[in-house]
């Protein structure tokens, strides 16, 4: 399958179940809401070393936020619910509570409850104020800029982590330019995040390592400087590879983002130096979710 001179390889992304939640952060200005969102989702590229994967999902207009102020939705994913319950209050307490003018609200209604203010309310040292209307409880914590308002807890979803595409291009600037276009298009899809820096990972990994202590190591088959040394997946004209990893609230959301990304890369096309689009998998035996690139692009296998 070739689109605009770009080969869509007969491959698939292999993804795993993750547990995730959405937080809605508001602030007095859009900039401060985004600052809190960026900091809260920082150091959250991969569960391998960060304990969670997190990112900014979308900007929310004031009229659509719980308190009518500018907002940003973020998604946080962990490997299991216990992990999620651990990382969310930590990030909330260190990154949102501390950020000027913010408030934090539940962004998921159903599912198991992830504690928010339920955990961090004790920061207020007895001056915390609970307000409960119907079944919804929120807390007000006196802080130095006024009050920090935060929902008691939020819901959670069984999501999908580790969807991905690999962009194979002639040169590093061309691989990066195509990746940037893909990130732009994929970021518009609701319900997904691209947890790596700027949405792009240049150090894609394979499972395992020659070193016993490591679970993952450099994806040598896609490292251009190892062509001819390790078993390579790269034809001669490929000089650089960029990967985009996708976590989403559902299979469909990740599939939609995958499609948007491939379309954007193909729009850059061979004229822009893109040679092929591939995907990372582990043979299909580890992850239950398979995103077949050609199926997603409607070309069949």
């Amino acid at each position: 399958m070739i689109i605009n001179g770009v080969e869509i390889r007969d491959s698939f992304a292999e993804a795993f179940p993750m547990v995730g939640t959405r937080l809605i952060i508001t602030a007095d200005t859009p900039d401060w809401a985004m600052t809190a969102a960026r900091v809260t989702t920082g150091f959250a590229t991969s569960v391998i070393g960060c304990g969670c994967e997190a990112g900014v999902e979308r900007v929310i207009a004031p009229e659509d936020t719980p308190d009518g102020r500018p907002g940003v939705a973020i998604l946080i994913f962990a490997m299991d619910f216990k992990g999620l319950k651990t990382v969310v209050p930590l990030r909330l307490g260190q990154c949102i509570l501390t950020c000027p003018t913010t408030a934090c609200y539940a962004g998921v209604e159903g599912g198991k409850r992830v504690p928010l203010a339920k955990t961090i309310r004790y920061f207020a040292d007895g001056y915390q104020i609970s307000k409960k209307f119907g079944d919804e409880r929120f807390w007000r914590l006196p802080v130095m800029d006024g009050e920090f308002v935060c929902d008691e807890d939020t819901g959670s979803v069984e999501g999908v982590g580790g969807g991905n595409i690999l962009i194979l291009a002639r040169s590093r600037p061309q691989a990066l330019a195509a990746a940037e276009q893909a990130v732009k298009a994929m970021s518009a899809v609701k319900g997904v995040i691209l947890p790596f820096p700027g949405g792009v990972v240049r150090s894609g990994s394979k499972v395992g390592s020659k070193y016993k202590a490591l679970f993952a190591s450099s994806n040598d088959a896609y490292c251009p400087t190892l062509r001819g040394v390790a078993a390579s997946a790269l034809p001669e004209e490929v000089g650089s590879v960029m990967e985009i990893v996708i976590d989403g609230v559902s299979f469909d959301a990740v599939a939609a983002a995958t499609k948007a990304g491939i379309e954007a890369v193909c729009a850059v096309g061979s004229a822009g130096g893109v040679v092929a689009i591939d995907a990372g998998n582990y043979g299909g035996n580890l992850g239950p979710f398979h995103f077949r690139l050609r199926d997603i692009m409607g070309g069949g296998a």
Partner: protein, 264 residues
């Protein structure tokens, strides 16, 4: 099946309808309802003696033309809907846990006393001790919502420990005495001596009330919680409106309390 009760003649004594809830009446034919005995004055009387009973629409108990001697309407209610097309007496919605109780006229004392859930809408005025602790209980209303279109009497929200009371008119003296938690919002203002012994809880009002001694004035603040409540709690949307600032008075400090009065 739902039941419609219509008083045959004005009551000559107090009648206690406590326990006559949609759940208790579920599946009962009008004939069975007529045989239910309720305390009336000093004796038990079958409902059929006092009311014309007929089947009505689905899932409701309707009381056509209320009476100020009709006590305990909706007491113990846990689901469904009760509609009263006139006034009720004391203890309406006492201990109510769910469902909706709509009363077109006035209500007597202790409306919503000890209520834990559900919703009460009152078209007229409420008597004393709205949402307070029922006789023998230590704590008042703990959950649910009560909306009063008219005024309420003395000691509204006494020992209230949760839920929302909105009074669109005014409330009498000594409201929120010993309030434990919850929200009492009053559009028309408080009578004298409000908030004595308040431990926690929130009073929302447009003009500063004549509070009991013991409230500390923390000044006027931009409170994000106001914006949130105005959107998330439809009952408060009109009262709070577009207000984003409120004067915050905290008390009763004479008793170590951290209740608050938000003056919009």
């Amino acid at each position: 099946m739902s039941i419609v009760l219509r008083l045959k003649t004005p009551l000559a004594a107090r009648l206690d309808l406590g326990g006559l809830t949609p759940s208790a009446l579920a599946g009962k034919a009008p004939g069975e309802v007529e045989a239910i005995e309720c305390p009336y004055g000093g004796r038990l009387v079958a409902l059929g003696e006092l009311f014309a009973v007929r089947a009505g629409g689905e899932g409701r108990l309707v009381i056509e033309a209320g009476d100020a001697r009709l006590d305990g309407v909706g007491a113990g209610m846990d689901a469904g809907e009760i509609v009263v097309e006139g006034a009720v007496g004391a203890h309406a919605g006492r201990g109510m846990a769910g469902g909706v109780l709509r009363i077109a006229g006035d209500a007597g004392d202790e409306l919503a006393a000890g209520m834990t859930g559900g919703r009460i809408e009152l078209g007229g005025n409420a008597g004393a001790r709205l949402g307070a602790a029922p006789s023998g209980a230590r704590r008042g209303m703990a959950g649910g919502a009560v909306v009063i279109r008219g005024n309420a009497g003395a000691r509204a929200g006494e020992r209230q420990r949760g839920g929302l009371i909105l009074v669109e008119g005014a409330v009498g003296a000594e409201a929120a005495t010993d309030m434990i938690a919850g929200t009492l919002a009053v559009a028309g203002g408080f009578g004298p001596g409000a908030g004595r012994g308040m431990k926690r809880g929130t009073l929302i009002v447009r003009a500063e009330p004549a509070l009991a001694e013991g409230f500390a004035d923390t000044g006027t603040h931009d409170l994000v919680a106001l914006r949130l409540m105005a959107r998330r709690v439809p009952d408060l949307a009109t009262l709070i409106g577009t207000a984003v600032r409120a004067r915050r008075l905290v008390g009763d400090r004479l008793q170590g309390g951290l209740g608050e009065v938000l003056v919009l």
